[in-house]
């Protein structure tokens, strides 16, 4: 019995017991459902072993939406707790766990997979490729992320969640101040997910550099693909820092080293430093694909080519470099002198320049365009003003002298939510709506979609604008309660109402998916938006080989050229297509990683060693495996193309 005590929740409450029951029932329901409908074989063959970039993209998407709701529930609980002064809905420990998991889930298990979902689905299609450069590695990336997310999520009911903030600063995150296993979950689950992300980064750089269609030079790539390239470059250079920092943190917690302790030569501030060396580029990893999506959406629905293509590319390259030069602005108040703070203040403000260039390019694209206000376009239009408010308050925070006033207040919380929500969430929802017909062969309902967009935009403003005021009045972030005398009550109640409006918006999106799946017409053709880039030149939904004939390209808007300028995309006849074969190893290996992570978190060393051997066995298996893929014959291509509505080209 003593053995099992370590898995107990240190701080149980009825809500946690309820979620235990809910998790148990969900697992039973999934297993029973799969068995009853005899879908085990289908799930294994078509999804768990797939290496198809489109299916992996869709799995990323589903996981991201699930995590969006998990993080959203955390948010609602936080706002409910703070809605009135002196509230006792949650206690301090519970509140700490919730804001910590809200941050990590939203950034690492919602926003990251969401951008990777869209990159996975769209980039190979936009460059006219059959798949990514390393399809098997891609599957491994996904399953590592997925099992890491699951590992992180069980912390709620097994052993306790991390509670030291999503930044997990030492010495608070050290053993002395955080004795239970929560922070171990943080260190290990993020490590495993980070491995997957790093592999994605390498995979996509190679894909974009080596697998473009004939004629597509770098400066003829669609803007989303450019943004994906730059994003993955940042991933490859930023994530190793997180890997190392987490490894050092893990050793501090599990093996008694002193990297981040305050005694024995350790330096607690070094954690904050390393965290933000990764953390600030991470901000741009999230925002650049969003900028790419807005570029696609705005030029499609303004019916104009993108204004200032070259300056768009140049500004992204500059952002990718500058993103590594500003990290100290996250801890201006930690004790370094005015000289250091001035340097990082200036670099911080400099990065607003390339971002401003992009905003102006979008405005000039809209100028004299024939604007069609579809749902993706509506998100893009709502993005510009809200994001600008978030950005301007960022410049305020970037002034190091003034930052002493704003630091760690709700003002900061308002700022980064008003940047991340319009910057990332609106973009992902715009991208989701925009590429949905390509993924599933029908469109989402426009009327419900626009209602959701407006509700989310209004909810964002109502939820976060009041925090600017209560923050300037002195409300600190991460406080679990406050007294009535502070006068914060009114503003927090307003935020709570805003959070409610946001929740209704997201529920509407789910309803829209249900409604459109049931009622939307499937007769939409391959190019329902009258778009400009290559992904719309193949069928919807996309056949497994993407393009029956490899397209030839001579500008960044190849499909538009075909439609308006008589360019011929598909020359030649069908050839046999070589495809990568499926594999269950990525799934199995990641499942073993899950066991390994769990064993490390609870210091179960024998299990850890055995599962580590399992991981190596999978690696060895891969090294000696003979895998030549398979071929799709011309006859099969002809049949598929005929079924999909006639041969193209």
């Amino acid at each position: 019995m003593e053995f099992f005590e370590r898995f107990a929740i240190p701080h149980p409450s009825p809500a946690i017991y309820a979620s235990m029951v809910a998790i148990g029932l969900t697992v039973i329901a999934i297993i029973a459902g799969l068995t009853y409908f005899k879908k085990w074989g289908y799930i294994w063959r078509e999804w768990l072993t797939t290496v198809d970039h489109k299916r992996i993209g869709i799995m990323y998407l589903i996981s991201a939406l699930l995590m969006l709701f998990r993080g959203g529930v955390d948010a609602i609980m936080m706002r409910s707790q703070l809605a009135v002064p002196g509230n006792t809905l949650l206690d301090a420990q519970h509140y700490n766990e919730i804001f910590t998991t809200h941050g990590i889930v939203m950034i690492l298990f919602m926003a990251m997979p969401f951008i990777i979902a869209l990159m996975n689905f769209v980039v190979p299609l936009q460059i006219g490729a059959r798949d990514v450069a390393f399809p098997r590695l891609n599957a491994l990336s996904f399953w590592l992320f997925f099992f890491a997310a699951m590992l992180f999520n069980i912390s709620f009911v097994v052993g306790g969640s991390p509670d030291a903030g999503w930044t997990s600063y030492f010495p608070l995150a050290g053993n002395e101040h955080s004795p239970h296993v929560g922070t171990n979950y943080y260190m290990i689950a993020i490590q495993i997910a980070g491995l997957g992300t790093l592999m994605t980064g390498i995979n996509f750089i190679v894909t974009i550099l080596k697998m473009r269609a004939p004629g597509m030079t770098l400066m003829k790539m669609p803007m989303f693909t450019w943004s994906a390239l730059i994003t993955n470059v940042i991933i490859v250079f930023a994530f190793p820092v997180l890997t190392i920092a987490l490894a050092m943190g893990t050793m501090d917690r599990l093996f008694g080293t002193h990297f981040f302790s305050i005694d024995n030569g350790g330096m607690d501030m070094l954690w904050a430093n390393l965290f933000w060396v990764w953390g600030h580029p991470e901000v741009y990893i999230l925002i650049l694909p969003a900028f790419g999506i807005y570029s696609e959406v705005i030029s499609t629905f303004a019916r104009r080519n993108l204004y200032g293509y070259k300056s768009m590319v140049a500004s992204m390259v500059i952002i990718s470099l500058f993103s590594f030069l500003v990290w100290v602005h996250h801890f201006f108040t930690m004790g370094q002198g005015a000289f250091v703070n001035s340097i990082f203040s200036v670099t911080t403000m400099a990065i607003a320049v390339p971002t401003g260039i992009k905003i102006f390019n979008w405005l000039f694209t809209l100028w004299k365009g024939k604007i069609v206000m579809t749902t993706p376009m509506l998100y893009s239009m709502l993005f510009i003003p809200i994001f600008t408010i978030g950005g301007v308050t960022g410049v305020m925070l970037g002034m190091s002298a003034a930052d002493y006033q704003y630091h760690n207040t709700m003002f900061l919380v308002a700022h980064f939510h008003l940047v991340i929500i319009p910057g990332v969430v609106f973009a992902m929802l715009a991208g989701l709506t925009y590429w949905w017909p390509k993924m599933f062969g029908f469109m989402l309902n426009e009327r419900i979609g626009k209602w959701a967009a407006w509700l989310i935009a209004v909810g964002t403003c109502v939820a976060f604008f009041p925090m600017f005021i209560s923050g300037l009045d002195g409300q600190a972030r991460r406080m679990y309660t406050y007294s009535e005398a502070t006068g914060f009550g009114f503003w927090n109640m307003l935020s709570f109402i805003g959070a409610g409006i946001l929740a209704i918006g997201f529920v509407l999106i789910v309803y829209n998916i249900y409604y459109s799946t049931r009622y939307a017409t499937r007769d939409i053709g391959a190019d329902p938006w009258d778009a400009r880039t290559l992904e719309w030149a193949t069928h919807s939904p996309v056949p497994e080989y993407n393009f029956a004939i490899t397209p030839e390209v001579n500008s960044s808007e190849a499909l538009w050229d075909e439609k308006k300028k008589g360019h011929k995309l598909f020359k030649g006849s069908y050839q046999e297509i070589h495809m990568p074969s499926k594999s269950g190893v990525p799934f199995i290996m990641s499942a073993i990683f899950f066991v390994f992570g769990f064993a490390m978190i609870f210091s179960l060393w024998i299990l850890a060693i055995v599962s580590l051997l399992g991981i190596f066995a999978c690696l060895i298996h891969r090294s000696f495996e003979q895998d030549h893929g398979y071929h799709i014959s011309v006859k099969e291509i002809e049949e598929t193309e005929a079924k999909m509505g006639g041969a193209k080209g």
Binding site: N273, G335, Q336, G337, V340
Partner: protein, 94 residues
């Protein structure tokens, strides 16, 4: 026979062994901290360059430009990170 002998690789291998011995000597000889660190840093960078160019064939394919751009970019980021950290954590601390 002469064309078949991988002269460059064998020389590279010997040179990398020499660098390893040089780095190892820091432990056995009684050097000052500054001198020891200098030896370690210099041999580390030479060793990394040697591995990339001789054994990982960085400059031998048509992707030469891409590979070297990536390496230089990584080097810049690494130096910025290290010197920025030193600046913020040690030199600039008041």
């Amino acid at each position: 026979m002469k064309e078949l002998f991988p002269r460059k690789q064998v020389m590279g291998f010997i040179f990398s062994l020499v660098l390893t011995v040089a780095a190892l000597l820091v432990y056995f000889l009684d050097l000052s901290f500054a001198l020891g660190m200098t030896v370690l840093l210099v041999t580390a960078f030479l060793q990394a360059g040697l591995q990339l160019v001789v054994f990982m064939h960085a400059g031998e394919s048509e992707d030469k430009a891409t590979i070297y751009t990536n390496v230089y970019y990584g080097l810049i980021i690494a130096l910025v990170t290290i010197f920025g950290t030193l600046l913020a954590m040690i030199w600039g601390m008041v």
